[in-house]
Amino acid sequence: MTTPENTPETIQPMMATRNLSKRYEDGVLALDSLDLSVNPGQIYAMLGGNGAGKTTTINLFLNFIDPTEGEAIVDGIITHQEPLKAKAKIAYVSENVMLYPNFTALQNLDYFSHLGGKTSYSAEDYQKVLLRVGLQEEAHDKKLRSYSKGMRQKCGIAIAILKDAPAILLDEPTSGLDPKAGMEFINLLQDLRDEGKAILMSTHDIFRAKQVADIVGIMNAGKLVAEKQREELVGEDLEKLYVEYMTGYMDTAVQATDASVTVG
């Protein structure tokens, strides 16, 4: 039964941006008035080509850069005002997870968990999470220098899980994974969503985005040019839609009158 307190309109988003813009010193406008929100238990997939503004958005959430205008908010905290407080609420997986090559997976997990403020984990806890992300037990004590990109990616995901943050940022998380690992990853994301995590994911992978996302946002040249809810994508050819927005945004999207499409 829906009450006024928990209707989608009244739930406070775990991650949100308000009029978020970033212009770099060389004058390039990387992000232009971005407005999006991700609620707890939601997966938001940002689709877009290179230079669309996806990574800039993630960098702004992590306060690696300051916004030119607007704000990125995590659990009600404006990231550029209270970056340390905000980052305590965020777990992050980069596109190409690079960890310490002289450390084993367990040592890497231990270090990054401590950095994330989690100091009570045991070796068994780390092993459980590594198994959960699909990393075979015999690899746990091997140094990372012998790991493939996919294995490192799994370690990165394990680090994010161990942080147990309510918000998760994923920058092209499936780029190094084989199809099987990709599928396992999708299942994992669904589990995390079911645990109530808010997940913001940047990706080129339209198929995975459609498979897992509750909301798909299409970005082009720093603008959010389209945003579709999961139910709106049923029966929709997302790939066609994506190409249409990526290539003909100026000609077609601005003129679009479809109420389900928000032009950013």
Binding site: N59, L62, F64, A88, A91, Y92, S94, V97, F103
Partner: protein, 469 residues
């Protein structure tokens, strides 16, 4: 958080193959430096004892104190074997006259010039060259290396204050690199008593301070490398930049400072002093020869005539000596003042480099700095006075130097008994105390601390603005 970063740094550095290899080389060299130092001390001790014995042996059978040629020798110093400084360049052997100038001869490099070619492998060299490179090798990519590796971005996705991170990196890398070096240093120190090197409390304290200075110097390159790694985004660039800075610090600045000071301050050359002295000496001899013609004995008794003549010659010699000493004193003072000015200027310029500051500190602590010669010659001059008094006592007021004495030779039955060389007062050279050495090194130790603070502050401020993406 700080502890986590320090522990990670320790584990990351100590667990690397690069560390194992470079640490192995450094450890070997440090132990070798102690061994070579101890061996040099043993050799020097044997040479010194042999020279002292030979000095006494060559006096055996002499029946007249006026025939004695007495030498003193600088005793070897255990700490100076570890930080040789200029100890091998200055003369150790001084012939003692009752009066007049004293000259130190027979430096170690004069005796064995081969060692002057590449010098000794001592602690000063190990710290100056090897350990500074060791510090650079591990810290040139402290920050930009993590950025290239991608771990910096991942680390800063967490709530880590940047100041905690850089502090942790610096403390961690210092502990990871400096603490293991204590192992070969302790092993090397253990070699000294095992090889019979007589280190007293003062020596141990000096050695401990030299090692402290070494670690301060090591810290300078560590903090500087870390700073450079926050100023560049590519580790290849920071490595190149650090190599250039290392070359300037270790090789170029100290040498250029001496060169510039040499150009800026004129020092009266020794040749010029010798020419002026020779000129005066000729003039005085000429005058004395004329005076000798006026010598008229007051008696006809041969022995009394000889005594009168000897006294006359002694008076002349003393007068000549006074005039020579006055000129010599003036010229050497002029030279010494010039040298002091030159030395001060060159040291101040050289101290732009932490290498020079470390070198000066360690040499002052070991007692092998430029002041060693002065310190030794002061001790010898002081001994000269004692020896002069002893000699006068033995010869009835006469001294041996620069003149000639006439003797009436008797038959074998009148030969006086041989002299007893062991009566000659022993020469004791006291090395500077720990207080004096520390006082002399304090400025440079402070400078090394200042370098550390400046470079640390540089790294700290620069990293606060660093783009961690």
């Amino acid at each position: 958080m700080l502890r986590t970063i320090i522990e990670k740094e320790l584990r990351d550095i100590i667990g690397s193959t690069k560390f194992a290899v470079t640490f192995g080389v450094c450890a070997l060299l440090i132990i070798l430096a102690f061994y070579v130092g101890a061996r040099n001390y043993q050799v020097s001790r044997v040479q010194h004892d042999a020279a002292v014995a030979e000095n006494l042996r060559q006096m055996e059978g002499i029946t007249d104190w006026m025939m004695v040629e007495h030498h003193v020798f600088m005793p070897p110093n255990p700490v100076s074997s570890l930080v040789t400084g200029i100890s091998n360049d200055i003369g150790r052997n001084v012939e003692i006259h009752g009066r007049g100038e004293l000259t130190a001869e027979d430096s170690r490099f004069n005796d064995d010039p081969i060692f002057a070619v590449f010098r000794f492998l001592d602690l000063d060299f190990i710290f100056q060259v090897i350990l500074s490179l060791f510090a650079i090798l591990f810290a040139y990519n402290a920050i930009n290396g993590e950025k290239e590796q991608g771990t910096l971005r991942l680390a800063f996705a967490n709530s880590i204050p940047k100041d905690t991170f850089i502090l942790g990196k610096l403390i961690g890398s210092f502990l990871a690199l400096a603490l293991p070096l204590l192992i070969p240093i302790l092993l090397g120190s253990l070699l000294l008593p095992l090889m019979g090197i007589p280190m007293d409390g003062n020596d141990w304290q000096k050695l401990a301070l030299i090692i402290l200075a070494g670690f301060l110097y090591f810290g300078v390159f560590l903090t500087l490398s870390t700073w450079v790694s926050t100023l560049t985004h590519r580790s290849a660039n920071s490595f190149l930049l650090m190599l250039i800075l290392w070359m300037f610090a270790v090789l170029i600045i100290p040498r250029t400072a001496v060169l510039l000071a040499g150009r800026a301050v004129d020092v009266l050359p020794v040749d010029e002093i010798a020419t002026q002295k020779s000129r005066l000496m000729s003039q005085l001899w000429e005058e004395d020869r004329k005076t000798m013609k006026d010598f008229k004995p007051s008696t006809e008794d041969v022995q009394k005539v000889l005594d009168e003549f000897n006294r006359f010659m002694q008076d002349q010699a003393e007068e000549r000596q006074k005039k020579m000493q006055a000129l010599s004193g003036k010229l050497y003072e002029q030279r010494r003042n010039g040298q002091l000015q030159q030395q001060q200027l060159s040291f101040w310029l050289a101290r732009l480099s932490p290498t020079a500051a470390f070198s000066l500190a360690s040499m002052n602590l070991a007692g092998t700095s430029l002041s060693l010669k002065e310190h030794y010659m002061d001790a010898v001059k002081s001994y000269q006075q004692t020896y002069s008094n002893f000699f006068k006592e033995k010869t009835g007021g006469m001294l041996k130097s620069g003149g000639f004495i006439m003797r009436r030779m008797g038959g074998e039955e009148n030969q006086p008994p041989p002299i007893d060389p062991t009566e000659i007062p022993a020469f004791e050279y006291r090395r500077p105390t720990i207080g004096a050495s520390l006082g002399a090194a304090m400025g440079d130790l402070g400078l090394l601390t200042l370098f550390n603070l400046i470079f640390f502050a540089g790294a700290f401020v620069s990293f606060l603005k660093y783009d961690v993406r």
